[in-house]
């Protein structure tokens, strides 16, 4: 019962975010970067129902328009991670034994570099910004996906029906495309959905260290970080983007786990 309620709620949240990403003007017609010093730090109420930030920009408008940036960043990072994981995992799972061993080593090395350590290195090379953050978080999550995929590919490849298909004389490529891929990718969708939420949070951490998104982008992590300085006097500056991040990540987590259970 509660499971169904939380799934429905999460679906609603994700749908709302999807609207915000695709058509933000529908939910908030204003300009998210329109500055109005006179209403700086306006508390939530009429005019600005979620309040206004230090430059008098409307928080609701910013949160809605920031969805594209934040979720985009999370999705891009996860995309890189899953993409790299896919290549590594499939190579290891389907390739010859020596390739599996080699990929295993690569995965091991990537695992040994924690996300932020990797991110710091990338920032040093490329300079701070969204691109470095996305690449870093993507590279840091890749080994996880690769490991899951490799294990899954091995299991599926050894399973009865794949064996049967092979015995029926189907070609190697056909077996992989028709049987192995569909059965390995579904669990990955579940994990990747979880991953987007995590990626958004990591990108936020980079913003905190001064290495994140460009102002005045209404990216949630950047907003949260800028607002943190006024936590004491204007709580809404952090609570609003913080809630947006948490809700998004939580909804994606619930959905991801739901998908995972369907696949199991």
């Amino acid at each position: 019962m509660t499971g169904r309620v939380s799934t429905a709620l999460s679906t609603a949240v994700v749908a709302l975010i999807a609207v915000a990403v695709v058509w933000p003007g529908l939910l908030a017609p204003g300009d998210p970067t329109a500055v109005d010093p006179l209403s700086a730090f306006a508390s939530p109420g009429p005019g600005h129902w979620l309040g206004a930030d230090e430059s008098g920009r409307d928080l609701w408008t910013r949160v809605v328009h920031g969805a594209a940036a934040s979720v985009g960043i999370g999705a891009a990072a996860t995309g890189i991670g899953v993409g790299a994981g896919l290549v590594l995992g499939l190579a290891a799972g389907l390739g010859p034994r020596w390739l599996d061993a080699a990929v295993g080593r690569v995965i091991e090395v990537l695992f040994a570099l924690p996300t932020l350590v990797l991110a710091l290195l990338l920032v040093a090379v490329q300079g701070a910004g969204v691109r470095s953050s996305v690449l870093a978080v993507g590279a840091a999550t890749a080994p996880g996906y690769a490991r899951i995929l490799r294990a899954r590919v091995r299991t599926v490849a050894a399973s009865g029906y794949v064996e049967a298909a092979r015995l029926e004389g189907h070609g190697r490529v056909r077996v992989v495309v028709r049987h192995v891929l569909p059965n390995t990718l579904w669990p990955l969708v579940s994990v990747a959905t979880l991953g987007i939420g995590q990626a958004v949070v990591w990108v936020c951490a980079l913003s905190f260290l001064g290495l994140g998104a460009l102002p005045p982008s209404p990216e949630w992590g950047a907003m949260l970080n800028a607002g943190r300085l006024y936590l004491d006097s204007a709580w809404w500056l952090t609570v609003v983007p913080g809630t947006a991040i948490t809700l998004t990540a939580a909804a994606l987590t619930v959905l991801g786990r739901r998908i995972g259970r369907v696949s199991a």
């Binding site: 939380s6 040994a112 350590v117 710091l120 290195l121 943190r228 936590l231 913080g242 948490t246």
Partner: protein, 317 residues
Amino acid sequence: MAWLRWALARIGSALLVAWVVATVVFFALRAAGGDPTEAILGGPGSQAGPEAVAAARAEYGLDRPLVVQYLTQLWRVLTFDLGDSYARRVPVGDLLAEQLPGTFLLAVLALVLAWVLALAVATAAVGARGPVGRACAAVLRGVEVVAAVVPHFWLGAVLILVFSTTLGWFPATSSGSDPAGLVLPTVTLAVPVAGFLGQLIRDAVLEAETAPFAVTARARGGSAVGVLWRHSLRHGVLPAVALSGWAFGSLLSGAVVVETLFGRPGLGRLLLDATLSRDVPVVIGAVLVVALAYVVVMLVVDLLERVLDPRVPEVVA
């Protein structure tokens, strides 16, 4: 014999990790732009004259070809000589040795706390009976999900505001092993990991609860909680144990943020400062230590898995 091969494989992979890390860091930072002589001569924007720059380049071997510099650095790593910090002019080994204990203390405490919290919440959620219990379990699940995604720096800031500024229970800053100062950083680091581990444990426990051995144990008259602790949990913690190595790495990432926030000295802050000032030897040293710590933790995790899971053969070649 099997043990020997296993040990050799482990040492081999540790060496490989060290080599790749040293190589990647070296070339990454040299490709980064920003001249390392800046770090030697008083930081970025240095207005040092040409003689000073030439002298510093010669002293640190920066005038030699890149390949020679790389091989020199690699040889040093192999001989456990990490060189001198460009900016601080002291041996990197000393700097690391100074900062290592504090960070590891913090990470280990946070990992322990995360496990305690995760186990408690997972047990409570699984053991819940009746409508009220189930409602509480649902709330706990929500808490877990939120905990897993809350950003460190925000959680830390809120904890400081509540427990330091408002209540005055704990200091806002932290140094060394002062117990009062360690509380807030440890909690800040532990909560997201606890949420993550909690979810893993709960899923696995729920799966184990419906497994034949648990059903049998209950049929034999074992109490629900007894079965949970003796049988299901043993299985339930396996995925979480397997991922604890990863969790430790993520704690070290978190340490960069938490140490900056609480003004606590440590490896994370050292790494952040060194990266920003292009202090190559310190970055290589710090990243190496982090990577090797991960290798060691994975070793422990491997052993633990063997102890906990009868299905894993004693030794896998």
